[in-house]
C-alpha cells in the first residue's frame, strides 16, 4: 500500500507533465503550425538556459538574469504592497468607522486589472519603473488588506477579555494580543499577495518594455521568436511555484508558533 502510494506520488506528476507535452506536440504539429514543438523550444532556448547569466545587451540576456530583474522588481512592489496593505488591514479590522468609510472603495478597487492601473501610473509618475511598482503594489495588496482585516475581526473574544480585565493600554493590547493573534492571517495574505505581484509583474513589463521576464516575452513575440515565449512562460510558472512554496514555508512557521 505504502509502496504503491509512494510510487504514485513520484510517477503521477510525471504523467501529468507528459500529458501536457503530448497536447503541446499535437497542437504544434496539427493545429497551430507557428507554435514551436517542445523539442524545438528546448533547442532554441538552450543558450538562455545553459548560460542563464550572460548579457549581450539590455534585451538579450540569459533567462536567469531576466528572472532576477523581475524578482527584484517584484520584491520592491511586494514590499510596497504589504507596507501599505498591513496597516490598512489593521485599521479596517479595528475601526468600524474606518471600515464603513473605506470598505466600498476597496471592494471597487480590488477587481481592477493591472492593465488598467498601469497607464494611470505612467500618467502620475511619467516613468515606467515607478509606474510598474505602483501597479504591482496596487494590485497585490488586497489579499493582505482583506486577510489582515478578517484576522483582526476573528480574534478569539477570550483573548480580548483577558486584555480588558488586565486593563491593558491600547498599545499593549495591539502588541501583545491583536498583532500576534492576527499574524497567521496576515501571512496567508502575504502569500496570496506575492502570488498576485508575480502575476502583475509580467503584465507591467510587457506594457512598459522594461527588461525582465515579461519584457523579454513581449520582445520575442515582436521578433517572432516564439520558442522564447514558451521559455518565458515555463520560467514564470516555475518561479511563481517556487515563490508560493517559499511563502508557504514561512506561513507554516508563523502558524506553528
Amino acid at each position: 500500500m505504502t509502496r504503491r502510494s509512494s510510487l504514485s506520488t513520484l510517477l503521477l506528476p510525471f504523467a501529468g507533465i507528459a500529458t501536457v507535452l503530448a497536447v503541446w506536440t499535437v497542437l504544434s504539429r496539427h493545429v497551430a503550425p507557428d507554435l514551436p514543438s517542445p523539442w524545438r523550444t528546448w533547442k532554441e532556448s538552450e543558450p538562455y538556459v545553459l548560460r542563464p547569466f550572460f548579457k549581450d545587451g539590455e534585451m538579450n540576456q540569459g533567462i536567469g538574469r531576466f528572472a532576477l530583474l523581475s524578482l527584484w522588481r517584484v520584491t520592491k512592489g511586494f514590499s510596497l504592497a504589504i507596507a501599505i496593505g498591513t496597516p490598512l488591514g489593521f485599521l479596517l479590522g479595528l475601526s468600524p468607522t474606518f471600515r464603513r468609510a473605506f470598505e466600498p472603495v476597496i471592494q471597487v478597487m480590488r477587481p481592477i486589472s493591472p492593465l488598467a492601473w498601469l497607464p494611470l501610473g505612467l500618467i502620475i509618475f511619467q516613468r515606467s519603473e515607478p509606474a510598474a511598482l505602483f501597479t504591482i503594489a496596487l494590485c497585490a495588496m488586497w489579499p493582505t488588506v482583506v486577510n489582515t482585516a478578517v484576522g483582526v475581526r476573528s480574534i478569539n473574544v477570550e483573548y480580548l477579555n483577558v486584555g480588558r480585565v488586565l486593563r491593558l493600554s491600547p498599545m499593549t493590547m495591539l502588541r501583545k494580543i491583536v498583532i500576534p493573534a492576527t499574524l497567521p492571517y496576515v501571512f496567508t495574505g502575504y502569500r496570496l499577495s506575492l502570488g498576485l505581484a508575480w502575476l502583475v509583474i509580467v503584465a507591467s513589463e510587457m506594457l512598459t518594455g522594461a527588461p525582465g521576464i515579461g519584457g523579454f516575452l513581449w520582445q520575442e513575440y515582436n521578433s517572432l521568436v516564439y520558442s522564447h515565449i514558451l521559455l518565458s512562460i515555463v520560467t514564470i510558472g516555475l518561479i511563481g511555484f517556487a515563490l508560493d512554496r517559499l511563502m508557504g514555508m514561512v506561513e507554516t512557521r508563523v502558524r506553528g508558533l
Partner: protein, 264 residues
C-alpha cells in the same frame, strides 16, 4: 454590616430571535472581605454571565454591583478573573502570560521588580521549571495553574474564578483544589468561586450559594449555606465529617428541588 462585594437585584437578559431571554433575574449577594464564597449552578444557569457582570465585561440590565461601596462600571484591576478555558495567550510563554498581569498590577515598579514579581507567582503555582514553555506544551492542569497565577498576579481585591477546574481530570482537579485552598489560606484574598462541583465547593468555601430557576425565567441566587468546617480541610478526610455530610445533603436536596421546579 456593609458587604465588601455586593450585588443587589442584578438582572441580565440576552436578546435572541424570540425576544429577550432572561439569564439572571434579580441576583442578590453579599461577600465579606477575606471570604471565599462558592456559587453552584447547573450548566446554562448563568454562571459565566454572573462572572462577566461582576468583572465589568458586561453591563447589567438592572440592579447594582458594588465593590467596597464603589459601583462596578467597567473592568478593573480590583476584580481579577480566572477564566473557564484558561484563556492563556498561546504566543506567550508561561512567564510572559503571568508577566502581562504583573506588569498591569505593578505598573509603577521597575521592570526588574515586576519580572521578579511574575516569577514569584509562577513559583507559587509550582511551574518555575515550565516558565519558558508555551501553553500548547503544557498539560491541562498546568495551564489552569498558569491561569490561577495570572489571576493572582493582578493582586485584585476580589478574585473571580469561573469553573477553574471543570475541564480537568479528577486527580488533577483534587490537587489544584488543595493548592487553591493553600493559597487562599496564606493570603486570605476575597474569592468568588463559580463551580458545578458540590465537593469542590464544600472543600473550599466558607459559604455556598446555589443558582436556582426564577419563577419568571432566568436564574437567581438562593440563600447561602454556611460551611462550618474547620480549616485546613483535607479532601480525603472530609467524607467522615458530620458537618460535611450535612452541607452536602442540603445542597444536593436544594439542587434536586431546583431541578424539579425547572422541569415541572
Amino acid at each position: 454590616m456593609a458587604a465588601f462585594l455586593e450585588l443587589r437585584g442584578v438582572r441580565k437578559a440576552f436578546a435572541g430571535s424570540h425576544g429577550a431571554t432572561p439569564v439572571l433575574a434579580g441576583v442578590d449577594l453579599a461577600v465579606a472581605e477575606g471570604e471565599l464564597v462558592a456559587i453552584i449552578g447547573a450548566s446554562g444557569s448563568g454562571k459565566t454571565t454572573l462572572v462577566s457582570l461582576i468583572a465589568g465585561l458586561l453591563p447589567p440590565d438592572g440592579g447594582e454591583i458594588a465593590l467596597d461601596g464603589v459601583p462596578v462600571r467597567a473592568p478593573s484591576l480590583e476584580r481579577g478573573v480566572v477564566f473557564q478555558n484558561h484563556s492563556l495567550l498561546p504566543w506567550l510563554t508561561v512567564l510572559e502570560n503571568v508577566q502581562l498581569a504583573a506588569d498591569a498590577a505593578r505598573s509603577d515598579w521597575s521592570a526588574a521588580a515586576r519580572h521578579a514579581r511574575a516569577e514569584h507567582w509562577v513559583r507559587l503555582v509550582g511551574l518555575t521549571d515550565a516558565a519558558a514553555k508555551r501553553p500548547a506544551q503544557l498539560s491541562g492542569g498546568m495551564r489552569q495553574r498558569v491561569a490561577v497565577a495570572r489571576g493572582l498576579a493582578v493582586e485584585p481585591r476580589v478574585l473571580l474564578l469561573d469553573e477553574p477546574f471543570s475541564a480537568l481530570d479528577a486527580l488533577t482537579r483534587a490537587t489544584l483544589q488543595n493548592e487553591l485552598a493553600r493559597i487562599w489560606a496564606s493570603d486570605r484574598r476575597t474569592m468568588l468561586l463559580i463551580t458545578n462541583d458540590v465537593d469542590e465547593a464544600c472543600l473550599l468555601a466558607d459559604r455556598i450559594h446555589i443558582l436556582v430557576p426564577a419563577p419568571a425565567g432566568g436564574h437567581t441566587l438562593a440563600d447561602g449555606i454556611a460551611v462550618a468546617l474547620p480549616r485546613p480541610r483535607v479532601s480525603s478526610e472530609l467524607n467522615r465529617q458530620v458537618e460535611y455530610q450535612r452541607v452536602r445533603r442540603e445542597i444536593l436536596a436544594r439542587l434536586a428541588e431546583a431541578h424539579m421546579r425547572a422541569a415541572g
